[in-house]
Each structure stands twice: as C-alpha cells, then as structure tokens.
C-alpha cells in the first residue's frame, strides 16, 4: 500500500488539476461552473468567503444568496480549516514551480528545547500527557486553548492584512482585494488566455495578470505566510476545525521516543507548525492539511487523523499500555488512562 504522505501529495495534485480542468471546461461548454472565486451549478454555488464578505461590506447590503453561500462555506471551513490553502489554492504550486519556496528559518520554531535533556523531558511529558489530563479539567483546558488560539490569531500578520482589506473595501465601495488576489489573478489569466485564443479578444490582461502574480508569489515569497487575507480569514475557522489534523505516534517518533533532535516535520511545514511544541494544538489551527509532515517524517510516525484527538503526540495501540505500565512502575493492575 502507498504511504499516506504520498497518497496525500497525489490527491492534492489531482484536486488542483481538477480545479483547472473544471474552470476550462466551464469556459468551453458554457456550463457556468465558474472559478474558485465562485463555483457551482446554476443557482447552487459556493463563493470565496473573503469576496462574499467584501461584496457585502462594499455594497452595504445584505444579499440573501451571498449570505446563504457564505454560511455553507463557513461550515466547510469549520470542518476542514485551511485545507483550501493546500488543496485548492494555486499559489503554493506556482511558487514551487519557480522554486521560490520561503527559506526555513533555522530552529526558530523549536528554539526553547535545543539541549538533549530538555528534549528527553519533553518526550517524557508528551508520553505522560494523555494520562495526566483527567476529564474534569478538559473544560478548563478548552478555555485556555481558545484564549491561546485567539492570541495567536491576533498576533498573525494575515489577520491584520484581513482587517486592512475589509476596512479599505468598506471605504472604497468595491471589493478591493479581488483586484490583486493571486487566486483570482491565476484564473483571470486562464480566462484571458482562453478569450485570446478562442474569441480573439486581445487585451493586456494576458500580460498584466501573470506579471502581477509573479510580483506577489515569485518576487515576494512569503505571500501566504505574511499577507494573504484569505488565509487570515480561514485561520479564524481553522482554530475550531479539529478534523484531519496530523498526529504523532510517540512510540516511533525519534524525538518523542528517543529524544533525538529531529525537526524534519517542523521544517517541512509551510506554516512553520512545530508538532512537538507545547502549544502544538494551538499552532495546528493554521494547518493546511498538506500532508508534508506525514510524507517527510523519517520514521513515518505522523498520520493525518480523521477524528480529533486530545493530544497531538499520542501513544498508539500496544504502546499506550506499555508506556502506561512503565509510568506506574511495577503496579501492573492499574488500567491505563
């Protein structure tokens, strides 16, 4: 069987290819599927949540169709968080094509635990974590987690970009971000090329759109990390989206089981999420479900888990029992958990 990481990569490529195919088919056969800015069949459609909010703010009117499809999109975002960013958005692929992925900034994500003793301690803590949280304080943990998520959202540059975009849109009276959105510009390029070739419509758009894209994604590498207000908006929902998050199997993870300073998963992550950090569950609010950590892990200890988990680093199957009995020394009669 193919490894989960490879399967995810293949599925992502296929999904994005499908998006492009749908956009072109929609132009060719007048089906009206549209572009990711808004797609669907006839009166049943989804629309870009940011575009929808912008349109509502700019027109200062509550448009029923827009509100309904915004509600549906919100439901998706609450389930899958920022999956759009890895599965539908063309920006990462464009950047990768030009080999302009942002550089990994050293061990910034795991700065506070460089010496082996701290690592071992952390490993021990991680191993003990599932057992040391009784159900009674799960509510308190939830509140603490929500506060930490909120702090993280407020500190994120993309949240600020989102705020600036919405204010500017309200003042301008036109969805301003749509003008420079890399997603819109990508499919605008596809559309303008289509109209150039098929309808002989000659416009400068064919040159201007790709040029704008190049400035945003190729010259400036960190669009997705620092500026994208769509990511900023999805982050808000992402912190509540618990499905399909990556989880570490502590029994095989080099770091959790042997205390080795492995940081492969953290450096593979485009969002710079450190799964071993104390606040990993909070950081995972920004997870795009891209599966790179799953793919890159040298011991294949990371899996995308469908259901939400209490802890990011978890023991699995036999390992749980083994670890639990180790914790309690000779007392074999105590049940784990």
């Amino acid at each position: 069987m193919m490894k989960q990481g490879d399967r995810i990569t293949k599925a992502r490529v296929a999904t994005l290819a499908l998006v492009f195919a749908a956009v072109i088919a929609s132009l060719a056969f007048d089906t009206g599927i549209g572009t990711p800015s808004s797609f669907g069949i006839g009166q049943f459609f989804l629309l870009c949540p940011l575009g929808g909010i912008e349109a509502l703010l700019a027109s200062k009117a509550l448009v029923p169709v827009t509100l309904i499809s915004l509600a549906v999109v919100t439901a998706f975002a609450l389930l899958f968080g920022r999956a759009w960013c890895a599965w539908g958005c063309p920006a990462p692929v464009i950047r990768k094509f030009f080999r302009r992925d942002p550089k990994v900034e050293g061990a910034k994500g795991a700065g506070d635990c460089d010496d082996p003793s701290a690592l071992a301690e952390e490993a021990a803590r991680a191993t003990a974590a599932p057992a040391s949280f009784p159900h009674a304080c799960s509510a308190a943990r939830e509140v603490k987690g929500a506060a930490a998520s909120l702090r993280r959202i407020v500190r994120d540059k993309r949240t600020w970009a989102l705020g600036a975009v919405l204010v500017a849109t309200l003042v301008a009276g036109i969805p301003l971000f749509c003008l420079v959105c890399p997603i819109g510009l990508t499919f605008g390029t596809v559309g303008s090329l289509w109209h150039l070739v098929v309808d002989k419509q000659v416009t400068m758009s064919v040159v201007v759109f790709p040029a704008a894209l190049a400035v945003e994604l190729v010259l400036y590498r960190k669009w997705c990390m620092n500026l994208c207000p769509v990511a900023g908006l999805l982050n808000v929902f992402g912190h509540l989206a618990r499905l399909f998050r990556p989880r570490i199997d502590a029994s095989t993870c080099l770091r959790a089981s042997q205390g080795k300073p492995c940081e492969v998963c953290a450096s593979a992550c485009a969002e710079r999420i450190d799964l071993h950090a104390k606040d990993a569950a909070v950081q995972l609010g920004e997870c795009t479900r891209c599966g790179e950590c799953v793919k890159q892990c040298p011991t294949a200890s990371i899996r995308i888990a469908v259901k939400p988990a209490a802890s990011v680093v978890a023991q699995s199957g036999r390992a749980v029992q083994a670890a639990a009995s180790n914790d309690r020394g000779d007392d074999k009669s105590v049940a784990p958990g």
């Binding site: 549209g34 800015s37 797609f39 669907g40 448009v63 301008a172 605008g188 400068m204 758009s205």
Partner: protein, 206 residues
C-alpha cells in the same frame, strides 16, 4: 522600554494599518464608477454593480452566446475581469443565466420587451459607416435581423432605430457587415453600434 512594549507597538502598528487602509480605500473610490461599458442585462447601476462584483467570471463562463467577456485591464484597473458585452462573437438572448449564477446578485431581472425599465444600451447608426447610407439599397441586414422590431427602413431604405423598442441586444451589431466591406480602406468599425444608456443620453442631448 516603551519601544518594545507589545501593547503600545500593536496600537501604533494597528493605527498605521487602519489609516493606510482608509487612505487606500478612499484613493480607490473615485475610480469605481467611471467605466462606461455595456454590462449584462439587468446589471445594477454601475457603482452598485462594482460594489458587488467579485470578478469570479461565472457569468462569463455560463453565457451561452459568449457575448459576455471579461473586461481587459485597458478598461480600468478596478474594472478588469468584470463582465462586459462584446458583440463580435454573439448577441444577448436575455436567457437570464448570468443573473441566475451571480453569487452576489449584482445582476437583476430584466424584460427585453420593456427597455424603458432597464436595458443593456441602445443602438445608434453611424451614417458615415453604414453601407445603406453609402449606397442606396445596398444593405438592410440589420433591419431583418432585429428580434425586437426596433429597426425599420426610412423612405430611402436606410435603417432607423426605434429607440423605445431597442434593448441593446446587439444582434444588429453582430451581423453588420460594414467592417468587412470597408476593410479595404482600413475601416474596422461597424455601421451600427450599441452604446450605454449614459452615452446614448449624452449623444441625444448634444
């Protein structure tokens, strides 16, 4: 160290960002409603249309006659990718599909037989280009083609537009052969053209 105080820093950066976004927004405002282009039938008034259109191009992709096309950047940076009508490929049949698929309701319903309650635009004849004006009895294709009987012949068998019946569907523009027949002398324009209500009124007043 007041400079590194996170609250103060946040406040300063936040204030600057707010100010910058207000300036950008206000700077963009004058350019919003300036385009004088043919919008899909039933489109809201230009400033309201621009407020709602998110440039998703769904209307362009659903249009069965391909009369809708995205405006190029030449038409204005703010207006690029918004839908406009181009009659080189087709004319509008008022099929209503663009209204149906618009996710922000920027396009409303319209009755093609009641142009006074809203229309794409109105046709105007260019007497210097229309073949019937250049040579008597030479052409009258548009009069036969008009689906709304808005075109008729005058005493000299030259086309006349009935402004009250014309809804700007563009069928006359699509089939006008003037650009073909005058191409030897460098003429690319057609003998009849659909212009926006705004331009039409301005032309009437002049």
């Amino acid at each position: 160290m007041p400079a590194s105080n996170p609250t103060r820093r946040t406040f300063v950066i936040g204030g600057a960002a707010l100010l910058a976004s207000v300036v950008v927004g206000a700077g963009a405002r004058p350019f919003v409603a300036e385009a004088d282009v043919l919008r899909p039938p039933g489109a809201l008034p230009e400033s309201e249309f621009m407020a709602r259109c998110i440039k998703c191009e769904r209307c362009v992709s659903v249009c069965p006659t391909d009369v809708l096309e995205p405006l190029g950047v030449e038409g204005g940076f703010m207006q690029a990718r918004t839908p406009v009508l181009g009659f080189a490929n087709g004319s509008c049949t008022f099929c209503d599909k663009c209204r149906e698929v618009c996710p922000t309701a920027a396009i409303g319903a319209v009755d093609p037989y009641a142009p006074e309650r809203g229309r794409i635009g109105a046709a105007i004849l260019h007497e210097d280009r229309c073949l019937a004006f250049l040579e008597t009895n030479s052409c009258g294709i548009c009069v036969d083609a008009c689906p709304y009987e808005a075109l008729s012949f005058d005493a000299g068998r030259r086309p006349v537009v009935d402004e009250a019946k014309c809804n700007g569907c563009g069928e006359c523009v699509r089939i006008c052969p003037a650009n073909v027949f005058t191409s030897f002398s460098g003429g690319k324009a057609r003998g009849i053209e659909v212009v926006t209500e705004k331009t039409f009124r301005a032309g009437e007043g002049a």
